[in-house]
Symmetry: D2
Subunit: 363 residues, 4 copies
């Protein structure tokens, strides 16, 4: 607990990295929605490992089986359950990890939390692999939102020290959101993708890893969505995003940079576009007082460098309570951020539909 997210659209994730299966149950999907499985597969492929030389060579073949919630491929209102069988799991890689806590993984706190009963194979329930069913749920919801003109997209805005351009926060189209799909790494332009690939390869070559920044945006959101105070859309989004392994920071609009700005610069003047109230700039990232303004939703997420690195690291053997040295073997991404991009989209899409359902009851 709690592996559940959401209120009226509720997603529960289950499974351990090297158990029998992982999956999700999604309650509250609007009935009557056809699932485009081809588009869903394409979305899942963006998260899957093994797409490029930069990603882990482990192949997962994550094909979800929908065991409930659909009638002839259309949502029926009952909870949708998708099951993804685990395969190609070389647990032997992880044997020593029962005693040697991997630095900056959840091993040690999980050991305390579950009294040593947790599934240590591959990080168990704390594995990034749990984002596969998150993407199943989020990919379905992205389709449902897109049918109503609400589009969610994200990009790898930085990897290590390489920073790329940001989305235009004021004039943003569905095409803009799709631009990262065309590049080898999900960035706004191919040059940045190449520079990032070099940065990641440089880390990999010395048995190291790098972190990254993901920018996510949504357009087409109705204005007036969200509750005040702790029910704000930003509160809900942040809680969801921190549920994704490796997220260390979340900011909206100008975010941390706002701290150094003056009000005269940071304030977004209201203006009229025809009969629509807009803001001339969008430092607020589409949310004020927890409620949408109708401007694009803009947020950024910081992803830490992959903690699994092959270099020897200092740790503690908790069985002997003695210092120890650990080299994490196995197949690991030198930068997890590219694969996290669709996960961020998934979490954002799920919260957006949840809030729409909370406030309007239906789409």
């Amino acid at each position: 607990m709690s592996s559940s997210l959401g209120e009226r659209l509720k997603v529960t994730l289950f499974g351990q990295s090297h158990g029998t299966a992982i999956g999700c149950v999604v309650e509250g999907l609007p009935p009557g929605e056809a699932i485009d499985t081809e588009a869903l597969d394409a979305f899942l492929a963006r998260r899957a490992p093994g797409r490029s030389a930069l990603s882990t060579s482990r192949r997962e073949g994550d094909v979800p089986e929908f065991v409930s919630g659909l009638v002839d491929g259309v949502t029926c209102g009952a909870p949708l359950c998708a099951v993804i069988r685990n395969s190609d799991t070389r647990s032997a890689d992880y044997e020593q990890l029962r005693r040697l806590m991997r630095p900056s993984h959840a091993d040690y706190p999980a050991h305390l939390r579950y009294g040593g009963h947790q599934d240590v194979r591959g990080g168990g329930h704390f594995s990034g692999r749990l984002t596969a069913p998150l993407c199943v749920a989020g990919g379905i919801v992205k389709q449902i939102l897109a049918r109503r003109g609400i589009h969610v997209g994200a990009q790898l805005q930085a990897a290590g020290s390489v920073e790329g351009a940001r989305f235009d926060p004021v004039n943003l189209t569905a095409e803009d959101l799709a631009r990262p799909l065309a590049n080898a790494l999900p960035t706004l332009d191919p040059e940045t993708a190449r520079a990032m690939a070099d940065e990641i390869e440089a880390a990999r070559s010395v048995q190291d890893s790098v972190g990254g920044l993901i920018e996510c945006a949504a357009i087409g959101l109705p204005a007036g969505l969200g509750d005040p105070l702790f029910g704000g859309l930003d509160s809900r989004l942040a809680a969801a995003l921190y549920g994704i392994p490796a997220v260390r920071g979340v900011e909206f609009g100008a975010g941390f940079a706002a701290a150094a700005l003056r009000g005269s610069r940071h304030n977004d003047p209201y203006c009229l576009e025809g009969d629509r109230v807009c803001t001339a700039t969008n430092h607020h990232g589409g949310i004020l007082g927890g409620i949408t303004t109708g401007m694009p939703l803009i947020l950024r997420v910081a992803i830490k460098p992959t903690p699994s690195i092959a270099r020897p690291q200092q740790t503690v053997d908790i069985a002997r309570m003695a210092p120890a040295t650990l080299s994490v073997t196995g197949r690991h991404d030198p930068c997890i951020a590219p694969r996290a991009v669709p996960c961020i989209e998934a979490a954002v899409a799920l919260i957006l539909l949840d809030v729409i359902l909370i406030m309007k009851g239906s789409l």
Copy 2:
């Protein structure tokens, strides 16, 4: 909705800035806890306006009346309700704001959300004034936690372009957490306080405002607190923090800086201190996989510049649907971040006790 925070320790805030009263109901406080009202008043004074020339001259005299939850000043297990009467509210200042949306305030989204029925006086329920009852609740909880050796403290780590030192993330004592209380602004050293005061005064003198960064830390937390995935302590804290007006970013440990680090640098090696498992560094900020490690909890929050500035600003008159110019009069802090420091402490303390109660049932 939702003006409530927490699960087993639940805080509900009520009131509008210029209504009859504001206040809070706190459910789930452990029974048998005496409230030190002197210490609570001192805590509330840190949030109160009018402490210095840099803060609004509006005087609130926020004395909470406890109408339930106590027997002879000791918690009895029933919900505690504190009521703070509003006074010295010059609503006339705000008359024009029914039509002219203040840039970067919640006025416009609230107008849409509540169909024009929202209380526009002073921002109504969206006012920063609602943090007064939040601090009542949080101040009480800070006392309860401190009795168990859990200390929460925060500091103004940056104001505008002036940055101060950060807490030591590894060796951190209750005395360190109290250091900011000694300075004119809540920073770790008096020189920084002076430089920040100059920065804020410079903005004020040109009818402008600045933002700031707040760093918050907690020590004494048991390891193993938190749930996986969306129930992580970071998810819960972030959701609470985004409920505080003007928060635009939340990060844990190395946070956004982690994106540019390599794993070998970012990973925190485990080591032994006597029979206690520690980490040599604390880039993880005390939370891994959503669960506490026993190291100090470290987080930072970005506060945007006060949106209320006296300069003329471009906006829209929503009654006439025409462009308009607005000058926000009234008394406003040129930098709200110093007064937000105890609010951040309050929110963090509330979530920490909530999670302790969730996981242990009682303290």
Copy 3:
């Protein structure tokens, strides 16, 4: 915890019977709703003590002060807080009760639950007095529902061994629901009211008490309201109703009598009334599979006899851990059920609006 009820319309009750005040916070009230305070006072008067010789002579003068949530008497979307000051509380009556557990009161379990710190005066937070703010919240919501043609009413259907007629479960009008208001006790006809008064007086005269049955109905509900399984309208209503002190049973439609019926008799045949699908009978009480059918909602609640009786009773002195004899002095209703009638209406109305808001977002 948990003194809160509801999801999108959330009511939190606070206060102890003999503390400074009791009250409620209501989050999620639709904005723009005027409160008819005269009608609300009339509703509250139905719950108030001292109306007749049959009820406690204690006078409460329960006038709620609305300290938030209203602008010029109209809901503004912010949480509404109502505070009712306690007065006329003769705590001396209750002094011995710190040690002598009153049979069939919450004294003993509360003592264990709160480690002896609970407010024992008048039952503290467990007092039936907490239904006063429940009725404030419910009375407001009844007005909001009635504006949309949704009417909630209840009647004292039995007191002790005297049973009265039941509502017509198929053809039920707002006038029918109002009929109990005309009688000295809230029954469908004056003869039953008289017989019940005799029954209650007979118990009172021998320092005893009696229980009762309350039937509650709602008309005008849209069909299709409710969630499957544990989110059913019956689940939500039952949970709310059991939150009212002295409730020992809840049934819908034919309820317990259904156990002895055959399916051919119990099943409600569908029929058409114009273009509306109806049922010819209403043994299902308006809910099937947790979801409304459009037929009147019908439920019954069993209220136990007032546990406070003046006769000597056997109990335990928990300070000395020795048998003891207790005579409960003070002023107590020989039958609490008549005053519980509006409380049942209040709880039902709150849940109905909550479910409407959950499913439709707004009224």
Copy 4:
């Protein structure tokens, strides 16, 4: 929504009667608990159809596959997911039901709720078949509770007009709770079982059905469990029980009979058994003020007669909006109550463990 139950022990049910699979996800199970699969199978067999001539001849072979949450058959703290494949589903039986609403089934309200997209085959997500995964979850929890001396048991206390004896509400042992397992129908004595079998057969022989009453008890519960008002154990139990299809009434202790009792009779005097505070009688059913007293928990549930009967029934063809006659074919139990007995136990066990986890954090 909401197919989830519980707070710290959360059970989510998924699946439709004639879909690919049904199942459950159980979050919050204490780690380190071995599952006795043999005992679990025996428990599930009590719910399974086809046990006797009195039950439907449909054979389900409900073998749950545990795809997560276990390591070597022991709970690991991660959500447990059990999947039960559907088989032997003759959907053709149900074809006409898309248009002809079965009286007293959820067909019609579900049609409105889901806009005609619901899975109509076999009642879809509203089918009693969903109680199979409920029993998987509850059966596991019963084992966990029993290890701590908390025993939950239920019996068929009435079927149609035949009533059997009730549990002794004061002196109740684990052996007493197991007595119904020895009889052909789960009653306290074989004579009652025979009389009930005759009653059920009499209904079946005329293509009719009967309802029943189930009494459930739990012993070994610690005193002091539960929250006040709407968080009372009775509120939580009632909400869970109403989630079971066919439940029409829930009462605790003396329940509806309390309405006709006098206080002097209904009140349970406190007494001492050694150093333990007890009550001499148990009309309160183990709960006062929502909190356990340490006496046996006693509740009763009314189960309506099976609505599926082969006799012609009057209904409406919603496609043509015309009156129609319906004969429900297929295999249906003439009395569903015997198979509901373990379902009641399951729901009660789940709530009991949930409340223990809520209040103590762990067992």
